[in-house]
């Protein structure tokens, strides 16, 4: 397990936060996180790790549901100082796109007075692109941040997981926000304010 001493807490964190902010403000827009010299354990993308490194400190809690969760949890706790929590209290939840949607049923989705007290999902997928490709799921997004609609293609996400997310986000302003990264460091965000429909491409 490596201590990520190459990561610059001031400028790297700022740069990656700005990409996140841009993605969150323009849902479905693909930004590329820098390919940094970091060595996360198997089961988590570099992109997802960079999100954690740029946003986490001792004030947040997180939970990893990925297959290799013990190692991932230890790695993130070591490098960010964030506390480890159960899925129903975690501020950030890491999972893999192919995983069972039942896992996130109990994720925090805020209350009407404080809808911001909700979880953010950081999902690992295989590939994100603006052009269609084989086995991709086509996501059509609509809502604040988008002029008409945005189309983005994602491979390696379970349709049932998308369905579960839709259900959690039915009652705006309650809901959860998504950050999706692939293994080429592409990043998209889908805030709860957006509505999406999906279809499979064969």
């Amino acid at each position: 397990m490596r201590r990520e001493t190459n990561y610059d807490e001031v400028f790297d964190a700022q740069e990656q936060f700005r990409l996140l902010l841009d993605c969150m403000a323009r849902p479905g827009k693909i930004n590329v996180l820098p390919d940094m010299d970091i060595l996360p354990p198997a089961g988590i993308n570099k992109g997802g790790t960079l999100i954690a490194l740029s946003l986490f400190n001792a004030d947040v809690s997180f939970c990893s549901l990925a297959d290799n969760s013990d190692e991932i949890t230890a790695y993130l706790a070591l490098n960010t100082g964030a506390t480890v929590a159960e899925v129903n209290t975690a501020d950030y939840i890491f999972l893999n796109g192919h995983q069972n949607p039942d896992l996130i049923d109990s994720a925090k989705h805020g209350n009407l007075s404080y809808p911001d007290e909700s979880a953010t999902l950081i999902i690992d997928v295989n590939k994100i692109a603006t052009e269609p490709f084989l086995n991709a799921i086509k996501l059509v997004l609509k809502g604040p941040g988008i002029e008409t609609e945005t189309v983005v293609f994602v491979e390696g996400i379970n349709p049932q997981l998308l369905e579960a997310i839709k259900e959690l986000n039915l009652e705006f302003p309650l809901g959860i926000d998504l950050m999706i990264t692939d293994n080429q460091n592409n990043l998209i965000c889908i805030p709860r304010s957006n509505r999406f429909v999906y279809s499979t491409i064969n």
Binding site: V10, D22, S113, P115, G145
Partner: protein, 301 residues
């Protein structure tokens, strides 16, 4: 003697410590995800008093990077005292390039105006907000206003607007006219004049609001519906400058300031200083477009 290398720089980049910056950043992401909703945040101590632009400054300093070009205006002017002081502070703490040119800037912090020049998708527009709660005038308790926002129960607000029309014949809110964001939250757009409200609607830029004294952050993403509150029969209208014009340029499809000269004569001048400069120098300017502006005719034509 051991040389002190750890504290070569007296201050952290952008003044605020990294833990607090991260907190503000996380809250900003939530604010963007829930347009118009006020996210509570820590509002750390700054070298200026709360209520003097600390909220805007927190947002600016939490998001600014080395490559940013920073512009700050106070009531439309780059040269106002609040703008000058904060510009100097941000420059000292980040060494970022600063500018007066609206088009060149990537971060624009403002007190009480939206620039007349159209914003683009690479810009982030940051407001200093004194009172983030639009319902405070009708409900004094925070837990009640939170509940009202949560339930989208805005009846008291509508009644208050109705009463103003009954008493005075019009809605007597000049600055900080309440707007509805994304058909959900009623939001205080900070004390910008009514003139500026339609320019936040479907804007290309991201708008971030920071209220330091009240410890709240909120946001309007680009391409988001922002509607001033209005009734079917009594509609929203911006300030009327149809009978006046800027004495320097003759233009009046902009927000005007009133000036009194030493001889007692009254003049009007374009409030946005960079817009005025560009007009006087005949530089190309792309103004905001909105339905109220397009109905206006230039009085000097």
């Amino acid at each position: 003697m051991v040389e002190n290398k750890k504290y070569v720089n007296k201050y952290n980049f952008a003044f605020i410590d990294e833990a607090t910056k991260k907190e503000i950043r996380r809250k900003l992401l939530k604010a963007v995800a829930i347009p118009g909703y006020q996210v509570p945040y820590s509002s750390p101590e700054m070298p200026i008093s709360r209520g003097w632009g600390t909220g805007g400054l927190h947002v600016t300093l939490a998001i600014i990077g080395k490559a940013d070009v920073f512009k700050i205006i106070d009531q439309g002017s780059d040269a106002s005292v609040n703008a000058c002081n904060l510009r100097e502070f941000v420059h000292m703490m980040t060494n970022c390039k600063t500018t007066f040119d609206t088009r060149e800037a990537t971060l624009i912090q403002t007190r009480h105006r939206v620039t007349e020049e159209e914003l683009n998708e690479n810009q982030i527009y940051i407001y200093q907000v004194p009172q983030p709660e639009p319902l405070r005038g009708v409900e004094r308790y925070e837990n009640k206003t939170r509940q009202m926002h949560g339930e989208a129960d805005y009846a008291k607000m509508w009644v208050s607007l109705y009463e103003q029309i009954v008493r005075h014949g019009d809605i007597m809110l000049g600055a900080g006219y309440p707007v509805k964001v994304n058909d959900r939250y009623i939001m205080a757009p900070s004390p910008i004049p009514k003139w500026d409200c339609p320019n936040i609607n479907q804007s290309k830029a991201l708008h971030l609001f920071g209220a330091g004294r009240e410890k709240r952050l909120y946001a309007v993403p680009p391409h988001t519906k922002v509607e001033p509150l209005e009734f079917e029969d009594v509609q929203f209208h911006p300030e009327d400058f149809s009978t006046r014009a800027c004495f320097k340029t003759g233009y009046n499809k902009v927000y005007l300031d009133e000036l009194y000269f030493d001889d007692g004569t009254r003049h009007f001048v374009i409030n946005d200083s960079n817009f005025l400069d560009k007009m006087v120098n005949h530089e190309p300017i792309k103004q905001h477009s909105n339905k109220y502006l397009s109905e206006l005719k230039n009085g000097t034509e």
